[in-house]
């Protein structure tokens, strides 16, 4: 092959490499959630259910058998309740689950993390939770009408110190 043709061929090969790498480094574009039409609601919370069972008094006699540092007056159970969560969007139930506490002794918090992609615009949200297996009905409920902008996120979180469910934008 002529020397010139060789160099030309090499130039073509490098140009192809550049085109291939250059193109796929950014293209084709990918749309995760279309910001013009959709927004996202996330149900995301961590909550420790009520402790199950009553504390038991430990008598003087029994206490003496423990080492001095461990002579507590009461023996309290550590197990916590499951939490029950329901989430309704525009009157339709989209999520309903009983979530066990974490931890080997079932003494940790229960976690929820769920994503709902919804059309942008006005929505009715209703979220309810029971955190005590001994009661019925819901201990916390929040109903709200919200207007969601496209491409924005709304977090439904739970903060007992702020009175229960909170909506974070």
């Amino acid at each position: 092959m002529k020397q010139f043709a060789k160099y030309l061929g090499q130039a073509v090969a490098y140009a192809l490499l550049m085109a291939f790498v250059g193109y796929f480094a950014t293209s084709p574009g990918y749309t995760y959630v279309d910001p013009r039409e959709k927004s996202v609601v996330k149900l995301s919370l961590a909550h420790a259910g009520k402790i199950i069972g009553e504390c038991r008094e430990i008598s003087e006699q029994q206490r003496k058998r423990f080492p001095p540092g461990a002579r507590i007056p009461q023996d309290c159970p550590r197990e916590r309740s499951d939490i029950t969560i329901e989430f309704n969007l525009d009157g339709k139930q989209v999520f309903s689950k009983v979530i066990p506490p974490t931890g080997l002794s079932r003494d940790g918090a229960a976690y929820v993390y769920e994503t709902f992609v919804v059309p942008a615009g006005e929505h009715q949200l209703e979220v309810s939770m029971r955190d005590d297996v001994r009661t019925s009905g819901f201990d916390y409920v929040r109903k709200e009408t919200v207007t969601l902008e496209g491409g924005r996120m709304l977090i439904v979180d739970f903060m007992p110190e702020r009175g229960g469910f909170v909506l974070v934008r």
Partner: protein, 523 residues
């Protein structure tokens, strides 16, 4: 079925490679240097990365700004470095994947070579993780997307109680914790792993090719530079946890898995990647390569010269102190787990002289399935059988052009497992047994299936590597022409053209070894 599939894909690959050989020349064909090119691209990544790091703020709140400043205010150096960093990494994925496909298609992953294959798989993972963590560090909307989906993906595993994803949904929850982890992985952890990983990967290979030819280094560097100037790497908008990542310019080389997670969910992707990794890892045993007999040592003929140990492309031969009481200091030993049965050692053994009178012609080291004795006897037999003038004998290998089809009046042809297994004295022998010319062929230059067979052969003929072809052998009667499996035509042409030059060759006294180089340069 599998065999035909392999043959078809092998031919297709070779055809593509032939085109590159035409353009780049065999020595600089990028397909013959894919592993080395990958390493070189990572060098570019390392150097440009160090520069970026000097200006980078490793905190989730300062990162984006620092990258923006570098990209815009210092586009002429910082921006170019950033683009080089990105494009060289992308190209490394291309060469790495081609390297994987090529080793597979050429059946260089089974048998003894399982080791290189298996140690390649973790490299695959590490490379992708390196890219992903890199995109995380920019902390733009793309990084936010990568962080969020990665977290959701990891959360599927039942090992985390508190979902990691909760860290990436509100500015309040965001901490430097993950950012620092990603910084560590990207800047120190994964690069270190890669360095050691590559070292492990090539450990069983003698003199691995880890540096590509200069021309390829220069060419690809210029290509990356040009691309960096034409299409500089830029960020998305700054990450905003109250917003949902929308339209993204994905780097498909590294981030292709994210849309897949979106589409089929974390569980399916975990299953897919796990199964894929295990299947890939099991490849060398699916099915296993039929074990070929390994090289056989005969200490009675071994003088401990070290030549075969120096020549073995897989480091299967080592020298140890003499064990049989003979006067020599050392003897060679073989590790059968490393021997690929190429026979190159047989070609380097000084005891392999075809002129020896001994009946059995045993040599210090030999390949049982294609012994030195067989090679000599076949040479003599074919030369005695063929008629015509001038007589040419072609020596080639089973992986280059199918030279048996060239047999004709005046042309003998012997194909062996690797041309490198032929002691150069056989050329001398063939000329004395009636051949007027000897053609040596085998896998394409720079691309011996057994890595070094054609290199050693050439050096032995040139007299720069022992065992040397005797100086008095007339180099004008020798033609060296390497050719790929699909390039039988060029071998045929060479044989015919060479035959014509032989009619007026009369035996000469010692011709300078350089003559061979000259004949090759012409071809």
């Amino acid at each position: 079925m599998a065999t035909t599939l392999r043959q078809v894909s092998q031919r297709a690959l070779t055809r593509i490679e032939d085109q590159f050989t035409k353009v780049f020349g065999a020595g600089c064909n990028p397909f013959f240097h894919l592993g080395a090119l990958t390493i070189y691209f990572f060098w570019i990544v390392l150097v440009s990365g160090l520069y970026l790091f000097a200006f980078f703020e490793t905190s989730v709140f300062g990162a984006f700004e620092s990258v923006e400043r570098l990209t815009n205010e210092q586009w002429w150096l910082g921006g170019v470095m950033r683009s080089l960093h990105r494009y060289a990494s992308d190209a490394a994925v291309v060469t790495m994947m081609l390297h994987l496909i090529r080793e597979f298609v050429r059946d260089r992953y089974r048998g003894v070579r399982w080791y290189s294959w298996l140690t390649g798989i973790p490299l695959l993972w590490m490379v992708f993780l390196l890219g992903i963590t890199g995109y995380w560090l920019v902390w733009d909307m793309l990084a936010q997307y990568v962080a969020l989906i990665s977290a959701e993906y990891m959360d599927w595993l039942p090992i985390f109680t508190d979902p990691i994803a909760r860290n990436f949904i509100s500015q309040a929850a965001l901490s430097d914790r993950f950012f620092t982890l990603m910084g560590f992985l990207h800047l120190i952890g994964l690069p270190l792993f890669l360095v050691f990983g590559v070292w492990f990967h090539v450990m069983r290979i003698a003199t691995p090719r880890i540096t590509p030819p200069r021309v390829l280094m220069a060419g690809s560097f210029l290509a990356f530079m040009a691309l960096s100037l034409i299409k500089p790497a830029v960020s998305h908008e700054v990450a905003d946890l109250a917003a949902v990542p929308g339209e993204l310019s994905l780097d498909w080389f590294y981030l292709f898995i994210y849309p897949v997670i979106d589409a089929i969910g974390p569980a399916a992707v975990w299953a897919l990647l796990t199964v894929l990794s295990f299947v890939l890892m099991a490849f060398p045993w699916l099915p296993r390569k039929a074990a070929e007999p390994v090289a056989k040592i005969d200490l009675a003929h071994c003088s401990g010269c070290t030549w075969c140990a120096n020549d073995c492309p897989y480091g299967a031969l080592t020298m140890r102190p003499r064990s049989d009481g003979r006067a020599h200091k050392q003897e060679v030993t073989i590790d059968p787990d490393l021997c690929v049965s190429c026979g190159i050692c047989a070609g380097s053994c000084p005891s392999a002289t075809p002129f020896r009178k001994s009946e059995d012609l045993t040599t210090g080291i030999d390949l049982p399935q294609f012994s030195f004795r067989h090679l000599r006897d076949e040479t003599a037999a074919q030369l005695a059988r063929i008629g015509g003038q001038p007589k040419v004998i072609v020596f080639g290998c089973d992986h280059g052009a199918a030279i048996e089809t060239l047999r004709a009046d005046g042309v003998a042809a012997i194909s062996m497992p690797c041309t490198g297994m032929m002691p150069p004295a056989v050329i001398d022998y063939a000329l004395r047994e009636g051949a007027q010319g000897v053609v040596v062929t085998g896998c394409c230059e720079g691309d011996c299936l057994h890595r070094l067979g054609n290199v050693w052969m050439e050096q032995r003929i040139l007299g720069t590597r022992p065992p040397q072809l005797r100086a008095r052998v007339d180099r004008d009667r020798i033609k060296v022409h390497w050719a790929s499996a699909t390039d039988l035509a060029s071998v045929r042409q060479e044989v015919e053209a060479f035959g014509k030059t032989l009619t007026d060759v009369t035996p000469r006294q010692a011709a300078p070894a350089k003559a061979v180089a000259a004949t090759q340069a012409e071809g």
